[in-house]
Each structure stands twice: as C-alpha cells, then as structure tokens.
Symmetry: D3
Subunit: 136 residues, 6 copies
C-alpha cells in the first residue's frame, strides 16, 4: 500500500466524509466501513461520487441485487482485481450466493474469456441476424 495514502478511520474523518460513511452503514445495515471507502476518503469528491453511483446502480431494479453482485464479480475476476473479488464475493454470499452458484459463475466467466479469444482469433463476422431488430 502507498503508505502516504492512509486509510481514513471514522474517528479521524471530516464531517463531509462521515456523512458518506454514515449513509454507507445505514444503507447496508452494518456498523463498519471497509477499506475501499477508507482509501477513497483521501479524495472526498471521489468518495461521494463513487458511493452515490454504487448505491444507485446496485439497488434492486429490473435485476435483483444478487444477480448484480454476480455480474460485478464476473467483471472483477476478468480484470483480476483481488480487492473487488473478495469484497463482492462476500457481498454476494450475504445476498444468497451458494457454493454451487459460485462454481457455476466461475465456469461461465472462464468459458466466456476463452470463447472471446476464439471469436477474436478466427476474426468471425457478426451474423446478420444478430444485427436485426428481431434479434432483440
């Protein structure tokens, strides 16, 4: 870790930062803040914007919260983001992900990453019918 970019604890936080921390804990129903937010707090504008975005995007909508966490983990595994893998796997478990679901999630992620390269390498043209309105 860049030791000059410290994790900012609640006790040391400005009122502006505490307001975000309070909203995170209230929204999630927890009494602690994970390191992601303590690091972003070094830049309060990024802390607030990132929290507002995640709060809005990960809320229940056309997709349920567990499905959203699975998608988030799929991206994080593809990009090899260790922090995000751990934090969002934990979130997914909280929202109901079983070991069997995790296994299938990993299988799909590996399959897609492999097949993406087969499509790249064989330079395959998109089928016309995948481009037409009737396809969606």
């Amino acid at each position: 870790m860049l030791t000059s970019m410290p994790l900012i604890e609640y006790a040391d936080a400005s009122p502006e930062i505490r307001a975000v921390y309070d909203d995170i804990m209230a929204t999630r129903g927890v009494d602690w803040i994970n390191n992601f937010w303590k690091a972003l707090a070094n830049d309060p504008a990024t802390l607030r914007r990132t929290w507002e975005s995640i709060k809005q995007i990960m809320a229940p909508g056309a997709l349920d919260p567990l499905t959203k966490e699975l998608i988030y983990v799929a991206v994080s595994v593809t990009n090899n983001c260790d922090y995000c893998l751990h934090s969002h796997t934990a979130s997914a478990v909280t929202k109901g992900m079983t070991d069997a679901m995790f296994g299938e999630l990993m299988a799909v992620v590996a399959l897609a990453n492999g097949n993406n390269r087969l499509a790249n390498g064989y330079a395959i043209e998109v089928d016309e019918r995948f481009r037409t309105p009737l396809a969606r």
Copy 2:
C-alpha cells in the same frame, strides 16, 4: 476475416462436423448455425470441445440460463469482444432479457470496471473480514 479460414457450411461439412451442428440445432431448437461454429469447424477438435463445454456450462443449474447469459455478456463487454456481445445479447433476449435489464447490466459492468481501477490504483488491502470463513 482471414479469407483462407472459410466459414464451413452444413452442406460442405464432414460427418464429424455435421454431428456437432446437428446437436447444436437440436439443443437450441433452431434450424441454423451461427458463424462462430462455422469458423471453429476449421478445427474439428476445437469445435467439439467448445460445444461440449458451452452446452454443459450454460445449461440450467444453480444459476438459471438468463443469469448465465448476463454474466457472459458482462465478460464480453469487459473484453470488448464484438462478436460475443452480439451473439450473447441475442441469446439473452431470447431467454427474457428486457431493455431495462440490459441497461442495468451495462451500468453494473461500467461501475465494476471503474471501481476495479480505483481499488488497483489506491492499492487497497483486502479487509481481514473478507478473508475469514464467516464472510462466505
């Protein structure tokens, strides 16, 4: 496209390739083969192995087929695989993806790709509680 690596049509396919094509059409309940398989048919071993894998992995299990397609699209968008985006978006629509679901899928994918880099760039250590058995 690499013009010396032709798409192999059913009429021109060997019995070995036709057997895979037949299984694809029967499994999916369609009467046509998309370009991905016609290109892989240049290497029958890869054609067969890739089909057997996708058939096994994308089947209903602990995760339903639509959720698997969403995960597949999330990976393909992250890797910028245009062919896979189009073919699996079409599959997702067939399995029930609405425009609202697509919009939320894209929003989660963009969010995760951005936040993965915040975690990388701030070099954030994984919280101890995300590593414990109780976290899952």
Copy 3:
C-alpha cells in the same frame, strides 16, 4: 482512421523515414511497406525505435522466428488487436505456420485465457514448489 494522421507513402517520406522503410524492406526481402509503419512515420522517433526493437527481438535467437510469431499472435488475440492479428498471422504463415498449427495456437490461447480467470476467481495460492529454484 484519424484522417488527419495520414499514412505516409514512400514517395512522400523524408530521408529519415525512407531510411527506415529501406531497412524494413531489405530485412524482410519485400518491396512494400505495410500500414503500421506508414502510420508510425507520423512520429519518426517512434517509427525508428519501434522498428529497431522489432528487428532485434523477432530475429532468430534461442527461439526460432516462427515460435516468436506464434507468441506475438497469442498476445494480439488476447488483447483483441485486429491489425496485429492480421499482420502477424500473415507473417507466421510466411514462416511456416500451417492451418493445424493455427488451430492449436487458438486452442491454447482460449484455454489459457479461461484458466487465468479460474485461478483469479478461486484466488489460488502459488504452490511453494513453483517458487523454489529447483522449479526452474
């Protein structure tokens, strides 16, 4: 293409650029320049440095030129660089790549891209014996 960043043809090139073009053609035993170099010629320092690097690195050494082209294609497919895929697949064919080799190359690239994500997602620790001197 960025139309204000034109491809610089031999006839329009400065002596500095022509010297690089001449060396490319002499080294490769061809009488034409591909678009990659004509684009880089907009920045002569990058043109020269990139050519000197590729000339040195892709020359026969502990690895033969065909193996080096296969490695180059593997990276380009992983990154989805369409230009590089086409130009280096063509080079690989010139150096002896058969269709069967191309098929196996794609199979290994897809496998590795998938398995990389399984290793990421399961967060697998490196075996101690892979870290010891005897392992290499």
Copy 4:
C-alpha cells in the same frame, strides 16, 4: 484465499475427484497435485472439464508441448495471472525452456503488448493484402 473454499487434498477427496487426480498424476508422471486442481475440486464438474480440456489441448500435436507452454505463459503474463505464470513457467522449464528462451519470450510479449496499442491508437486499417487468401 477465500478460506471457505478450501483446497481439497487427495485424502479428503471423493472417488470422482480422486479419479481426476489419479489421471493428472499418471499423465504427468508426478506424485503430487498442484493447488489449481485442489481448488477446482470444489466444483467437480469444472475440475473434470478443465482437466479434460488441458489434457487434450496441451498434448503434442502440430505444435510441440514446449511451444504450447510458451504460448500459455505469454497469455498469462499479458493478463497478469500470477498463479498461471508460476505454474506454467515451471512446466515450460520441465519441457526444456532455458533462461535464454525465457528472456526472449518476455521480450516478444512486451513488444507485442506495446505494438498492439500503437496499432489501436493510430487506428491503423488492415492492409488489403493481409486479408486475401494468398496472405495465408
């Protein structure tokens, strides 16, 4: 590591998992199992499918086993998969990779990763002759 996703040792494995472990050891002529397989064993279907794929793809064919390992390492380095880098570098050494070969492998991988971005950034069009059948 996700501590609730344990490494499954041979002594604790089901007959289904042991059958795969036995085949891995017999095929490779070793008496131990590396962590990759012990982690995948949490999902026996993925364990079996992944092993069958790697066994088929990495076997001698139009490309020799060492060349395949070099390609695998090239992909793993490009994707920054630390586990895969270590395990497949060890495999490559077993199959004859020298330090000089490793050095040239790394040089080609770095070159291609850089040049891929020059081609992207200058938005270079693929030369017509790279698209014709005669090019391959």
Copy 5:
C-alpha cells in the same frame, strides 16, 4: 449496432433526456450531441449519472482539462475502445493537443503496456523504498 437500441435524437427525447442534452451542449459550448449520449439515453438513469460524473471529473482542477483528456485517451487505447479513442482524441485536439503531443502520448502508452508485462513476467518485487512514506 444493436438496431433495437436506437440512437435517441433530441427531437424524439423526453424532457428528462432533453435536460441532460441541453446541459451537455451548454457546458461544452456546442450545438450537437454525439452518439455516446444518444445511445445512453436508452437508459435515462445511466445517461444522467454518466454525464454528471464526466462533467465533474473532467472539469479543471489540480489537473488541467487537456491533461485529463490525454489520460482518458491513454486508458481508451490500452482497452482498445475505438469509440472512446476517436471522441476523446477529438476533445484533446479541441483543448490544444498537437500532433507532436499525440505522438508522445502513444509512445508512453506503448512503453507502459510493454513494461507492465516485463514487470509481470519477471515477477518483480516492489522495492521497499517505493512503499515508504518518503517515496511520496
């Protein structure tokens, strides 16, 4: 393009979408909307959130707007996002990027992409002094 995900023109836009379009044009001092926003308008929540983020982040601050565009282009080239490359290269030109700056930008991007892989492949440990407070 997914033809069922149309570009939404100003004339066909809802008041909610028009409000964002109006702010984009006013902020940028232009009288047209580029395709990125017309596509995102299919999901008004994403349109608004994305615009608010980019408006906030790309504004003058500790870094000037041109430097921010150069950074944006560097990321887009690394990820091979063709749309983003073209739109943000155009923005950078508007803000003062010369051809010489573009050439150096590409050179740094290529260098970093290559050297990232040398650091990965040689599995180089971070120097202690890069981790100390004095280093920053």
Copy 6:
C-alpha cells in the same frame, strides 16, 4: 518471485550491465538501482533496449515529464501492474504530483475504464465528425 531469476546487484554485474546501471543512475541523479532493472539484467539485451526506450520516451518533449508519468500510471492502473504503479507513482511524486493530482488521476482512469465499457456494450458507432480532418 522466480527464485532462479535473481536480482543482479551492481557488485555482481558484468561490465555490459554496469554500463546501463551507470547511465540509469547518472540520468536520474540517484545512487541506486530499482528492482525492475536488476531483474531485466538477466537478459542484457532486454535491459539495454528497455532502458534506451524509456530514457528516450520519458524525456521532456512536447509533453512534460510529469504528464508522461501520469499517463504511465494511468496505463499501469488499467492493467493492474502493481510494480509499475508503485515505481511510477514514486517517480510522479518526485516530479511534482500532489495528492490532489493523484486523486484526479484516479478519478479519470476509473471514469474512462467504465465509459469504455458503455461504448463497447451499446456498440456505439463513431460519429462521422470525429473521423473528419477538421476534428483534429
């Protein structure tokens, strides 16, 4: 770390390697060598070529050295190269990067990584005016 690929200290280096080390220290005005170079020294040709490239590319030009470091960090964060992040963040600090600049750099990098995927996923066509000469 691959323990059989040792870091080569100045005291153990050949004259050829020492010449590069000396030039690194003289150019940078420091009295020590960081691990990147000590690892590359295992392949003297790569050591020399990489140093010559970085010395040429990162020198003041149309872009100032700090801007170049910011671009380098942006790429390294996008690729999740931990070594490069730490070494070039340290360099950027030496050249004047403040905490506020670092915060904005991270914000732009995250934004671009997210928006790259929105452009991919919505499969947005490049606006004609971004392709015309007048756009640059």
